[in-house]
Symmetry: C2
Subunit: 339 residues, 2 copies
């Protein structure tokens, strides 16, 4: 979807992706299929483009070292460093004075015991790196779950997060340009099922003050990282205010709704940012519900295709698997209203 957005602005894209036949390769000018460790391929890639971006934050440091000398990588290293590690991310957010869930580093049984003393249960143990869509996580309902949870981490450095009492989750899709200008889309309200985003609804249930808060804290995060590009900021709405759940240094699933209802969607916004173009303003002219199509939801495509209010986006993935995001459906509800 980034490649398509780039083409809409007259840019050509080259995709670097180890996998064969990836969806992006179907809509790109060129696909370099190689491992992140293949230095010749990386060099070829870096020399054939004007700017490099990504939609996957676990790119090996060695690849970034090589690419950075050939073309600007946006968003930059600091954003990747912070968001690749849950512990670093939480420390960064706390350092900005933002509220997160209580957290503590866990490396072994002793540090888990100390963390449980401090945070209590219910809580969640998560690997510091490489987690997504609920993977690499274990819930602790009581201290007795400690051993099993630690075993689930398989020795990986982890972080224990306290449970946050929240009424709902929203996310802000925010962008920052090379000139430091910031633009946010209206926050959307997220519903997850089995740890995977199910729907995002616009407008979100937020007071005017909460809406302002959400936008201001997103801006603070982007500025602190000297960020260039689109970022997804997930927030818990609690009685005591907004709590930052996590940040993602890329276009975000909860921003897919922008394809319907905004003049400039999150994908184009990201391309504009990394290309040094002026940002779109994030204005919204429609109420939208985005629904992920996961695994067997694909059976509903014939019906969704008949629904006049639905815009379908299918990713062209070769195989349907349970829990796999196969596409999404944006349903336009009406002209933009205030949540």
């Amino acid at each position: 979807m980034l490649s398509v957005a780039a083409s809409r602005l007259g840019f050509r894209t080259v995709i670097f992706e180890p996998g064969a036949d990836c969806p992006a390769s179907h809509v790109a000018d060129r696909h370099i299929q190689a491992a992140y460790s293949d230095e010749d391929a990386l060099r070829d890639f870096g020399q054939s483009v004007d700017v490099i971006t990504y939609e996957f934050e676990n790119i090996p440091t060695s690849a970034l070292d090589l690419l950075e000398d050939l073309a600007p990588v946006r968003p930059g290293r600091e954003a990747l460093r912070v968001s690749q590690d849950r512990m670093t991310e939480k420390e960064f957010l706390s350092g900005l004075g933002l509220t997160t869930a209580p957290f503590a580093a866990v490396d072994d049984a002793a540090s888990l015991a100390r963390a449980l003393d401090q945070i209590g249960t219910p809580s969640i143990l998560k690997t510091r790196r490489f987690g997504y869509d609920g993977k690499g996580q274990a819930r602790l309902r009581s201290p007795e779950d400690a051993e099993t949870a630690l075993a689930d981490m398989a020795g990986a450095p982890s972080v224990l997060e306290g449970f946050v009492e929240f009424s709902h989750e929203v996310s802000v899709i925010a962008a920052r340009g090379t000139d430091g200008s910031v633009a946010c889309f209206d926050p959307g309200e997220n519903v997850h099922k089995d740890g995977i985003l199910s729907t995002t609804t616009l407008p979100a249930r937020l007071s005017t003050a909460q809406r302002t808060d959400a936008v201001l804290l997103a801006g603070r995060i982007l500025n602190a990282l000297d960020y260039v590009g689109v970022m997804g900021v997930e927030l818990f709405v609690t009685a005591k205010g907004l709590v930052v759940n996590e940040i993602a240094p890329r276009v975000h699933n909860s921003g897919h709704w922008t394809q319907q209802g905004c003049s400039v969607d999150q994908f184009e916004q990201h391309i504009r940012a990394v290309a040094g173009w002026p940002l779109g303003d994030g204005g919204r002219y429609a109420d939208v519900v985005m629904e992920n199509l996961i695994g067997e939801d694909m059976d509903r495509v014939p019906d969704l295709a008949r629904d006049p209010a639905v815009s379908l986006h299918l990713y062209g993935k070769a195989e349907v698997k349970p829990g796999r995001k196969m596409g999404h459906a944006n349903r336009v509800i009406g002209p933009a209203s205030r949540g």
Copy 2:
């Protein structure tokens, strides 16, 4: 834009195009660069796809003969036969009982003199084939212009068209599926400059009766051709009713506005039709002005990129030339109103 729409539904595209580095090749899975006379390349193309469509109506008959045996070509031959020749098209439309400008075939000075007797001036002499964007046309203000106009045709079979007194031009972007279902987008109002479409505005100035008329006559044309795909139908609005100016058997420049303000745009609608999917219903949720960016209009891109109401679509053409369509800008004016 068709290729992008296809990718959105999970389809892959193969582009057959004689030119190198064409914009569609930047967003397609494969580009076969070969002449329409290259039978091996045509066979390779036909064997690698499930269905064939086009956005250029002057494909040689010999190429179609070969391809039709390998995969369905949609829209079919009859639509191409009719629309490739202005005279055949006018006869077809008249045969359906629709009103066109008065017309007569012109092959030489004698037939032009007869046509002028019948139709008078002001009138326009046009080549029967290969005309577009005002090319292959000569205006006759008086019978004295006959010789110059005929010379402009360079011996090509032509048609003299009488001048139609109209208040404005609208076009209907209509679609018909493989199951015979028809869906129309709301008519847009077109303004041309120097024979090239400049803007399309939604909604068009039309009475409810005219709007119904426009949709009904488009449906009649599609059904008569057993058409599959999207068609552009240009109509003059006159005191005596709607006059059909011309039809185009493809997605149409005056339908580009559908990218903003419709759940399913004309490009996806065309892909749905030729793929045998259910059609989108054509519903519109925003008022939009589409403006073509022609030649030096590209100098305005930095300003347009800053305009929060504008969605930019640039075609990635290598070179700016006067009169060349380089992109378009869709400006969302507000929620859908009635014209």
